[in-house]
Symmetry: C2
Subunit: 226 residues, 2 copies
DNA sequence: GTCTATACATAGATAGAC
DNA sequence: GTCTATCTATGTATAGAC
């Protein structure tokens, strides 16, 4: 599967995402016309991600957001009741999509080696297709409330566990060498995150997503091979 | 060399660091008594790092800082002329110390394999000894002015180049396999950074710094080995 | 549903007494 | 060298007209 195939398969269009956000937040959003809501949510999240990823969420004023999104301040507050709620909505949706996509991508695969490759690839592809969301989620997690921070941490641990279990299965089935793998999943996560955290670096050096994916897979497999 | 040896060798005490900051900023700091300055700078940076690493630099108010540092707001402004300058001072000092320590630690070593190991170890040890500084520098780099951001990027590239050149030398001298190493240094950096960015994770799992260092060295060497 | 106008709080920064 | 008091700008959030 290429990156283009991936984008077609998983529905990560802005409208799609905003429709899901609406579903999960009917109580918080005051406006009732579904079409209108989705339309405006796209504007709001686009603007929020753009401003925040440039100058930080706490430096983004609602006035700035209003201007960039093309909605008045009053109108904005019909879609969220305060700034923190806006932050939470984006974070929650990011987690939800990650979990779902990863699950559907690797669920059916049996061979642990193939499964590991696809898990790495899917993770990178998804973070590429939704780069602003992933960057935002990582960087702004610190601005969440204590309870929401716990959810972010749980999500990180969760996706790490997915990798760990694939590797353990690979060892059990004799595909990988028997060795201490405590730190493999954590550093693998770090490598995957670096792709969207340091986009500037890889762009500048003209590294494609497939080159990066191949490298990470190769790197990990060398370590796990007997 | 153990972590304890390292801390004794390189002078990374708060006073030491603040004395260096004073040297580089005599023009910006209005107070003249050297002893007093160092004493207060320690309080100011301690408080800044503590508050910022918890809730972000932009969410830290000068009032909060004043309270935590035990100095009035008026007094604070004798040590920096505005909040951004405070940010820059910390960042500049972090870069300077990193560069210097890394250089002195690996400078004299000849064998590329030994050099690579020491570079990884020193980098981790330093980031451990100065964890709040490193965390702050990474996270708050985005709040710097465009010119200062360029310096931060240059510093990242610079330390990456150190690793790259050691590895190239290792290949030339026949210690490592001849293969494409374009992405080795970037992901190595990502792994080193993860240690101070996700302190909570490694602490919780009781991973020691030496365990982590050994793993990263092993991981990289497996990949580079013929 | 969306706007404008505004209330109210809190931010960064400084002046002038001590 | 340090403090308190205060200025001014800007922040979030809402009320009420359209």
């Amino acid at each position: 599967m290429t990156f283009e195939d991936f984008k077609r398969m998983v529905s990560v269009s802005k409208e799609e995402i905003c429709r899901k956000i609406l579903e999960g937040n009917r109580d918080k959003i005051k406006v009732k016309k579904e079409k209108k809501v989705v339309e405006n949510l796209v504007k709001i999240f686009d603007a929020t991600l753009e401003i925040s990823n440039r100058e930080g969420f706490s430096n983004m004023t609602v006035r700035n957001l209003s201007k960039k999104a093309g909605l008045s301040m009053g109108a904005l507050y019909s879609y969220f009741s305060n700034k923190d709620e806006l932050l939470e909505m984006i974070q929650a949706q990011g987690r939800e999509i990650s979990r779902r996509v990863l699950e559907t991508q690797i669920g059916p695969i049996d061979d642990p080696r193939e499964k590991l490759r696809r898990a790495i690839q899917s993770h990178l592809y998804l973070s590429e297709a939704m780069q602003p969301w992933f960057y935002f989620s990582y960087i702004e997690a610190r601005n969440l409330s204590k309870t929401e921070q716990k959810k972010a941490i749980a999500s990180e641990i969760d996706s790490e566990t997915v990798f760990l279990e694939i590797i353990e299965e690979g060892i059990r089935r004799g595909f990988y060498a028997v060795k201490d793998i405590t730190l493999v999943a954590p550093v693998l996560k770090a490598m995957l995150q670096d792709w969207y955290l340091k986009r500037w670096k890889y762009k500048q050096r003209k590294i494609t997503i497939d080159q990066y994916a191949d490298f990470v897979v190769d790197f990990i497999e060398q370590y796990l091979s007997k």
